[in-house]
């Protein structure tokens, strides 16, 4: 018997640097490969903002998987912000919503033609991210074999009527977290669509050496770790302020270690250490020795770094307003959340002062990750959902 066929549709694919949903798509494709005749349909874009045509259109291969790239006819419109404002206003029309989706890009009509023809010859079509043109206009062309990985979070766009078919028409939905599922069900009343919380598998190296990290970067004493893009939109500014206020008001000496690309000013003080982008080895060594990972971002749809911290047995400190990160942390019993700078300081003091508590929280996180976010479990769940799709269409 030949393997079932699977087409994956995603706005960008390959060596594009970053992009949560795109990284997820590639990781999933690599692991589904042994089970399917798999192919990817995407655009020639590398940049998620401009969607400029940087790759060559046509058939190529990534990780040994055939990838069909289709030209972007229109990238992000120069007056995108204007269209966004209009579509998000109270009094907008359906035409404004359509204009928003097109202004956002990537407008790739050839990709739609491909989904329309080829997508209806394969057994299933897996769409990554709900928000962009390829999914909004592509999924309704093959709904009876579509599986959606929405990577949704609570933002104005998801309330537009144009997204209702995306969430109500597919055969199955793959959520990243239980919080994402609750949000989508609340907004769309689409509980009828079969779904699972799947997310991503977390791989951590068996050998992690905190001392190797401390020596390499000359870090002494207790330290907290932040990993990710250092930007205002991830609440890094508030984090720096809360940390500095704690340290400056006679807090127990500690260091805040930052790993990732700096895209905003970082306070120049000895207890905040900016390491820039680092190797995976450094990241896991640092995770192994930290008091806790700090995840201040409010907009994560799935914080992979939090999962990695838990897989390493360390707790997470997060903002109580973040529905997903705090929701997961709370359910896992794997960390603590702050609402104010004062609470941030209290939590930090408590975790330094009671290392056993920190380890217990971390261990709870470890078992949470093992229950849900491991590759064997992720792939098994995908296979079950796809089998259900085929059974319905046979």
């Amino acid at each position: 018997m030949t393997d079932p066929t699977l087409m994956v549709v995603v706005q960008r694919y390959g060596d594009i640097g970053g992009g949560g949903a795109e990284v997820l798509a590639r990781a999933v494709v690599q692991r589904l490969r042994p089970h399917f005749n798999i192919e990817v349909a995407t655009t020639t874009a590398r940049d998620y903002w401009t969607w400029a045509n940087e790759f060559t259109a046509g058939l190529t291969a990534v990780d040994g998987v055939p990838v069909h790239r289709f030209a972007v006819e229109r990238g992000r419109s120069r007056d995108f912000r204007l269209h966004e404002r209009r579509a998000f206003s109270q009094t907008h029309t359906l035409a404004d919503e359509r204009a928003f989706v097109e202004a956002q890009g990537p407008v790739a009509p050839d990709l739609l033609e491909h989904v329309n023809k080829r997508g209806r010859q394969v057994d299933h079509v897996l769409f990554f991210t709900y928000i962009y043109y390829p999914t909004v206009l592509g999924l309704p062309l093959a709904p009876e074999r579509a599986v959606l990985v929405p990577t949704a979070h609570d933002e104005p766009a998801i309330r537009l009527a144009i997204y209702k078919p995306v969430f109500c028409a597919p055969r199955a939905i793959v959520f990243s977290t239980a919080e994402e599922r609750a949000l989508v069900h609340r907004l769309f009343r689409n509980e009828r669509v079969p779904n699972e919380v799947v997310g991503i598998g977390v791989d951590v190296p068996a050998e992690r050496f905190a001392d190797r990290f401390r020596q390499r970067y000359a870090i002494e004493g207790p330290y907290f770790l932040y990993v990710g893009r250092i930007v205002e939109s991830k609440q890094c500014g508030q984090l720096f302020e809360a940390f500095a206020r704690w340290q400056d008001s006679r807090g127990t000496r500690a260091t805040l270690v930052l790993m990732g690309n700096r895209e905003m000013p970082v306070p120049d003080r000895p207890d905040i250490r900016l390491l820039g982008r680092t190797s995976d080895e450094d990241k896991f060594d640092a995770l192994a020795g930290c008091v806790a990972l700090v995840q201040p971002s409010l907009l994560e749809s799935l914080s992979i770094i939090a999962l990695e911290a838990w897989a390493c047995g360390r707790p997470v400190i997060c903002d109580a307003r973040s529905p997903v990160v705090w929701g997961m942390t709370y359910r896992a019993g794997a960390g603590l959340a702050y609402r104010t700078a004062a609470e941030y300081a209290e939590i930090s003091e408590m975790l330094i002062g009671r290392p056993q508590l920190a380890s217990r929280l971390g261990a709870a996180g470890q078992s949470f990750v093992e229950r849900t976010y491991t590759w064997p479990r992720v792939i098994e769940t995908y296979l079950d959902l796809f089998a259900e799709v085929r059974a319905r269409n046979s």
């Binding site: 359906l94 709904p143 009527a161 209702k164």
Partner: protein
Amino acid sequence: MSDILIVVQRFGDEVVGGSEGHARVVASRLARTHRVEIATTTAADYWTWAPYYPSGTSELDGLKVHRFPAEGRDPEFKAFESKVLNGEHALADEDEWLRRQGPHCPQLLDFLKDDGARYDAILFYTYIYEPTALGVAIVPERAALISTAHDEAPLRLAPYRALFQLPRAFGFLTPEERDLVHRTFRNEHIPHETLGLGLDPPGAYDVAAFRAAHQLEGPIVLYLGQVSEGKGCDDLLAAWIAYRSRPKARSATLVLAGTVRMELPDRRDVVALGRIPDAQKYATLAAADALVLPSRFESLGIVLLEAWQVGTPVVVRADNPVTAGQVGRSGGGLTYGDANEFGDALDRAIAARDVLGAAGRAWVERESSWDAFDARLAQLVALTAA
């Protein structure tokens, strides 16, 4: 008591059409127990969609009717359609086809976006037109689709693929429509109800007066409806002539009651009455020894139900799944495959008129009573409402 909106392409006293008629009946039945409003266009004609009613909110039969202006059918629609259905075309042409078919009515769609949440359930009529094809997607969480689909090429066009996956529930007119939709879209999991139709009792009618008025004697084989090739009347006439030229053929008259839109042979055994007044419908049906319905496509075949109400058996094509299905369920008639079988079926139907007619009448009294219809409708609303 729920708030219910019915979306349909046309609505009003001057509107003639199967699905629009069904929508009107459903509106009036639901209005007995719910607050019902209508969203529709200003059109009365299903081809041009030319403005006929004023736009805005008005009242009809005590129901609030919201009418929105619409762009009519593209005069070149037929040519464009033939390219989309039979020729090389781009995906975008299929959306364009929907728009050119009309009624293109963006204000109705924006009304659904802005006001849809005021209603507990929104019933959409006729899958094929834009108000439904694009409207269900705006309020899928409270939509019921009464698709009135039959097996035709447009059913496979791209704009309809998601449509049939979206509603909370389906209302079908017949089990055959249900099977067609399930086969085409594999959407068996969506809750559904087969509605059929409710009918008022026929009341008093005078067969003798009808026969006398039209000087009709002997057995009558009746066709009731528009007399055109599109309805299969050309096939009917050919089969009739073959039947009548059989040796020892029964003397009988084929009575055509309806607007004539085709050439008719000049024969004494074929009588065209033209369109008969509604008041004479049941007398005409009751006078017939058998009703024939030769059409290939039918979404319900109301005339069959009406014939059975007065105990007249029917003869229908075996290859029309809907009419053959209705006949199979009721036992109120016979089916035929070719012209030869047509003659045999007609002979047998006339000979067994009382038995077949009684079976049809018993079935229609059970299935199309208002109580039975209202119960099915209530079930559809329950499946749909938030």
